[in-house]
């Protein structure tokens, strides 16, 4: 970990708003403003904005950019037209997950990868090492700021036209040039706005003026957990494979990429353990690394603001992965019962 924490271009804004700042992946980031639960509910019912400028942006360009990415990423980029994006995994030779990311096809021969903050350097080095003549990988993270505007009213508040999920377009929002990506990490409608670092404050102010609520990383974590989006470093990592993690849908096993043989074998034989979602039956809050009786472990756990109970995800032997299976979690020495549920844990009733 670097000793000096990095600041996003919006750091001063967060401090002015009274955010509680915490270290995260080498950055000093807002964990909450008014409170995690209020921010969480704002995103589920209306609209919230997260500064996610700590995330990394890598550009991959050139006539053989597609070839490089097809050999390193799990999903099939051939399916993308310019203006479309997909969730995908950077895999190692054992089928482990180096990172999970979103790949955007910007042009015929040009791609943008938005990667986890903590993996930016690893991902860049990984791709750079595998570069082939005719492909060029560049880390443009320092030039970019990223705001996630999420919630059922987010798009309406921003005055943006409707668009399909996982598409993007360039536009101007209150005078700021932005790339509007219809992606997110909350399970809600919304977008992620990519702009130049020097425009970040103007864009942030414009978003807040439209009545969108500033939200911190605390709510980002509870929102993604309710809809069972994995967090790299917690639920998935270099030692876990995509099939066991339930991310087989993001792996095109009919193409060749690093680790594909392992993934084909795991899929054919069936994984020994699976990443499941669960809700607590007893009053308790599961947390990362708590043991699950029978050989499992909690990878993410928290309190669900929408369901008002403890929820989590964790790996369990495949025999225990069926919905309705009762689990016993060791909560600091106390056995507490949970129930496996189908993903996502939370879904709006409408």
């Amino acid at each position: 970990m670097p000793e000096t924490l990095l600041y996003t271009p919006l750091h001063e804004r967060h401090v002015e708003l009274g955010a509680r700042m915490v270290p995260f992946a080498g950055w000093e980031m807002p964990v909450q403003y008014q409170g995690v639960i209020a921010e969480h509910r704002a995103v589920r019912t209306d609209g919230g904005v997260f500064d996610v400028s700590h995330m990394g942006e890598l550009e991959v360009e050139g006539p053989r950019a597609l070839e490089l990415l097809q050999a390193t990423l799990s999903n099939d980029l051939d399916r993308l037209e310019p203006g479309e994006a997909q969730y995908t995994l950077l895999t190692n030779e054992d089928g482990g997950i180096v990172d999970d990311l979103i790949a955007y096809r910007v042009g015929e021969c040009s791609y943008l990868l938005v990667v986890n903050a903590g993996n930016r350097a690893v991902d860049y080095a990984w791709l750079k090492e595998r570069e082939i003549p005719g492909s060029d990988v560049r880390d443009v993270s320092d030039d970019c700021a990223l705001l996630a505007v999420q919630g059922p009213r987010a798009i309406e508040r921003l005055g943006l036209p409707p668009a399909r999920p996982f598409t993007f377009s360039e536009t101007s929002l209150d005078g700021v040039e932005v790339m509007v990506n219809r992606t997110g990490y909350t399970g809600e409608d919304g977008c992620e706005l990519l702009c130049m670092s020097e425009d970040a404050v103007r864009l942030w102010d414009a978003v807040l003026e439209r009545g969108v609520v500033p939200c911190g990383l605390g709510a980002r974590d509870t929102l993604r957990l309710e809809v069972c989006y994995p967090l790299h470093g917690n639920d998935i990592g270099p030692d876990t494979d995509a099939i066991s993690a339930g991310l087989g849908w993001a792996c095109a096993l009919d193409k060749e990429f690093e680790g594909v043989e392992t993934l084909r074998r795991v899929k054919a034989e069936g994984p020994e353990r699976r990443l499941v979602a669960f809700v607590m039956k007893d009053k308790a809050i599961p947390r990362h690394a708590m043991p699950i009786e029978g050989g499992g472990e909690v990878t993410s756990g928290s309190h669900s603001p929408m369901l008002d109970i403890g929820i989590g995800m964790g790996y369990v032997p495949s025999a225990m992965a069926q919905p309705e299976t009762e689990l016993t979690i060791d909560v600091r020495g106390r056995p507490r019962r949970a129930r496996v549920v189908k993903k996502p844990i939370y879904k709006r009733e409408d």
Partner: protein, 131 residues
């Protein structure tokens, strides 16, 4: 609504941000505004059982916010007479009223002389100033 910062003068304090309201040979225990503010909105209270013993300076239970778990440190030793069921059902009561409705447990003192070792409000404010 979360309560505003306050430290009542009629309470005794422990440097781990717990308070005690001593009445005869009984005491009501809770956590201070400082502790509540540091934790954020509480979502879980893991209480001791009624009838069990708590020991001064040791953990008698836990409170949790979305992001954090915190041990509850007993400012005094004694037997648990009552646990605040309202806080078990609605932990945010502690955020709203940490010294009133948000009390945590009531104990019968095992060593009434222990109270001499607790901090008064001025001494506790000095602890906060150094935190």
């Amino acid at each position: 609504m979360a309560a505003a910062e306050s430290y009542p003068a009629d309470l005794k304090y422990h440097s781990e941000h717990d308070w005690a309201r001593v009445e005869g040979d009984e005491a009501t225990l809770g956590i201070t505004w400082f502790a509540v503010d540091a934790l954020g909105e509480l979502v879980h209270f893991e209480p001791p059982e009624a009838g069990s013993s708590v020991t001064k300076d040791q953990s008698y239970g836990e409170v949790e916010s979305v992001k954090a778990v915190s041990d509850l440190i007993a400012p005094l030793s004694g037997e648990v007479l009552e646990v605040n069921e309202r806080v078990i059902d609605a932990p945010e009561t502690v955020n709203d009223d940490p010294y009133g409705e948000g009390w945590l447990i009531r104990i019968r003192l095992a060593e009434p002389s222990e109270r001499e070792g607790l901090l008064d409000v001025e001494a506790y404010r000095k602890v906060l100033a150094q935190t």
